[in-house]
């Protein structure tokens, strides 16, 4: 990666010197809370300024949704180093919980959504106790197994409507979902940002970097891993709970969408995993491109996309944030002539 960026970044270097990028990191690090608040306000503005319910509102709401999911994935995947391929199981369980509660038990939407989050957390606690004992490829496969098993079970139960799923045509307006997804996203970003500056966040990163060492240092890593896993499931479950109504129907294919799970990972990685803003940026960026490509390359979009994935992963494995951070730290590297850390006042450092 660095070889590539060095070979073609001469022009970039003269336009945007690394030390300026580094300074930008520094500014952002110093004013994280203000920036989060400002972004929440900016995010809340479009409907007030006349964004009508419809296509654009749907697309932006979906961006918020994916940002929630990608950031949730990153709590476990990027911060703790456990590559989950089963996050969509929480999503599906949340989605089915609201669908069943609203349709079969006439429970109101807000209550159902809270219950959806809690059911997802309870499920995560049980599953986490089992799968968090595994690492690396084995954890990835086990979580994928959880997702596939959940999907198959939903296909065959009566309460979930079997393969047909659940149809919910009486739903709140698009504006409600816009603010709902935005609100959940802002809260989640706040929580993750807050935690990344606490002992809890440090321990998660320590588990990622070397779990044996973290255990040796006396941390109860199982506790922290499970807590992170449940936190991720809470936000994913709530998002799923809202999604079933947002989408007006839910079926096993949609609820436990393994492809989305890969998308989330791609978003987090390409934005920059292990950071707060990376997964969010990744989600916004990828989702924008989706919408463009979907209308532009009928029939060939998937071929193109497969190729783009390969090229991007091989070319920019650190993600946008990681690539920039590396770029920013180049200057310090030369200045100090050594292994200068990316000390932009930032604990949530990118994956090495």
């Amino acid at each position: 990666m660095s070889a590539e960026s060095e070979s073609n970044s001469g022009l970039l270097r003269s336009l945007v010197p690394p030390d300026q990028v580094d300074r930008l990191f520094g500014v952002c690090g110093a004013h994280g809370w203000k920036l989060l608040a400002a972004s929440a306000v900016v995010g809340a503005l479009p409907p007030l300024l006349g964004l009508q319910q419809g296509y654009y509102m749907t697309v932006i709401s979906e961006m918020f949704l994916f940002a929630i999911l990608a950031l949730s994935w990153d709590i476990v995947g990027g911060q703790t180093g456990y590559p989950s391929f089963g996050n969509m199981a929480f999503f599906g369980i949340g989605a089915y919980t609201t669908a069943i509660l609203i349709k079969d038990f006439a429970i109101s939407f807000p209550v159902a959504m809270v219950v959806a989050g809690l059911v997802a957390v309870a499920f995560a606690a049980v599953i986490g106790a089992v799968v968090l004992r595994l690492r690396g490829h084995y954890f990835a496969i086990a979580t994928l197994g959880v997702l596939l098993a959940a999907q198959q079970i939903s296909r065959n139960l009566d309460i979930t409507g079997g393969a047909s799923g659940k149809i919910l045509l009486e739903v709140p307006s698009g504006t409600v979902f816009y603010y709902l997804f935005l609100g959940v996203l802002v809260v989640e970003m706040g929580v993750v940002y807050y935690l990344s500056n606490t002992r809890f966040g440090f321990i998660l990163n320590a588990i990622r970097d070397d779990e044996e060492k973290a255990t040796a240092m006396g941390f109860n890593t199982t506790y922290y891993k499970t807590a992170a896993w449940m936190l991720a499931s809470l936000f994913t479950g709530v998002a799923g709970g809202a999604y079933s109504l947002f989408n007006t129907f839910i079926d096993p294919q949609t609820a436990y969408n393994g492809a989305w799970n890969v998308e989330l990972i791609a978003m987090a990685l390409l934005g920059g995993s292990g950071t707060v803003a990376g997964p969010v940026i990744g989600a916004f960026g990828l989702h924008t491109v989706i919408e463009v490509v979907e209308t532009a390359f009928v029939g060939w979009q998937l071929v193109l996309l497969g190729i783009v994935v390969i090229v991007t992963v091989i070319g920019f494995p650190e993600g946008a944030v990681g690539t920039l951070r590396e770029y920013a730290s180049e200057m310090e590297y030369y200045k100090r002539g050594g292994m200068a850390a990316t000390d932009s006042g930032e604990e949530v450092s990118a994956d090495e």
Binding site: P83, V130, L148, A149, G306, V313, I314, P317
Partner: protein
């Protein structure tokens, strides 16, 4: 009686899953890559055989012998595909983050699948192999002849791979790289080449199995995913990198699925497989037979 018939059905189909999974297990063990495009190699092998047969006979029908002749072609073609993939793409992410390797092979899987869709359409296709009498009955058990041929073929392919690894120079090099790439390089083994050969051999076996699948079931551009998933389950059954383990794992998976279909209901087969996957991973992560499965 019913029990035996279900087990026979399971073994017949399970051998094919097993032969697909051995290559998957080998790549995982030697190159440390989970190859999400492995199912696509099955698909490409099936299409290779299909098109060769179509070229020769005008339609995809033929005698059993003629069909068997197409299998070396599928194997050769897929060896080339696998070798090239490793050399050009996968080698670039070896040793990096697990997510990156998964995304790359996932991207390959999609690109191949979609190109196949553009080239050959989504229509399912199958190879018709003509037997005078398509099945025989032994002690009340129905055994389709073509399935028996495919079963034997799958076992032969698996055994050939095993012997190749044990007896040949290249095979020993592959095992050396799997145990310690740095040391292997020190003693003069071309690690990159050896990994690419591993990828090629694994894809070749999958391709050969794909040809059999085209005769007893059918082939479609999007068929690959389920074979990749079953390979996951089988490798977890048998242990990473273990060829005998994968063989037994495949036969076991086939039997479990058919017994589920027979005694409970076929609707639960996949749910049972995936649940078993999780349980086994947790209870016995080194596989039922393997010693080879570390992290």
């Amino acid at each position: 009686m019913a029990f035996t018939q279900f087990v026979v059905n399971g073994l017949l189909i399970g051998a094919l899953f097993a032969a697909v999974a051995v290559g998957f297990a080998l790549i995982w063990g030697v190159v440390d890559i989970i190859n999400l495009a492995h199912g696509e190699m099955v698909m490409l092998g099936g299409y290779t055989s299909y098109w060769v047969l179509t070229l020769v006979t005008g339609n995809a029908e033929g005698s059993p012998l003629l069909f068997l002749v197409t299998i070396p072609v599928a194997i050769l073609v897929l060896f080339g595909v696998g070798y090239a993939l490793q050399r050009t793409l996968v080698s670039r992410v070896i040793g990096t983050d697990i997510f990156l390797t998964l995304l790359v092979t996932f991207g390959i899987s999609i690109a191949i699948q979609q190109l196949a869709l553009q080239a050959w359409s989504a229509n399912p296709r199958s190879i018709q192999v003509s037997f005078a009498d398509p099945s025989f009955t032994v002690a009340g058990l129905v055994v389709p002849k073509m399935k028996l041929v495919a079963f034997v073929g799958a076992i032969v392919l698996t055994a050939a791979l095993y012997l190749f690894l044990q007896k040949t120079r290249t095979g020993r090099a592959i095992r050396a790289v799997s145990q310690n790439p740095e040391a292997a390089a020190l003693v003069g083994i071309d690690v990159e080449h050896t990994r690419a050969v591993t990828f090629g051999v694994s894809s070749a076996i999958a391709g050969g199995v794909g040809a059999f699948i085209a005769t007893i079931l059918n082939i479609q551009p999007q068929m690959g995913l389920i074979y990749t998933l079953k390979s996951f389950v089988i490798v977890v059954f048998g242990g990473v990198g273990s060829i005998p383990g994968a063989l037994v794992g495949g036969l076991l998976l086939g039997s479990v699925e058919e017994l589920t279909a027979g005694f409970i209901s076929s609707r639960w087969t996949l749910a049972v497989s995936f649940t078993l996957l999780i349980v086994l991973l947790v209870v016995k992560p080194q596989g039922l037979f393997g010693e080879g499965a570390e992290q």
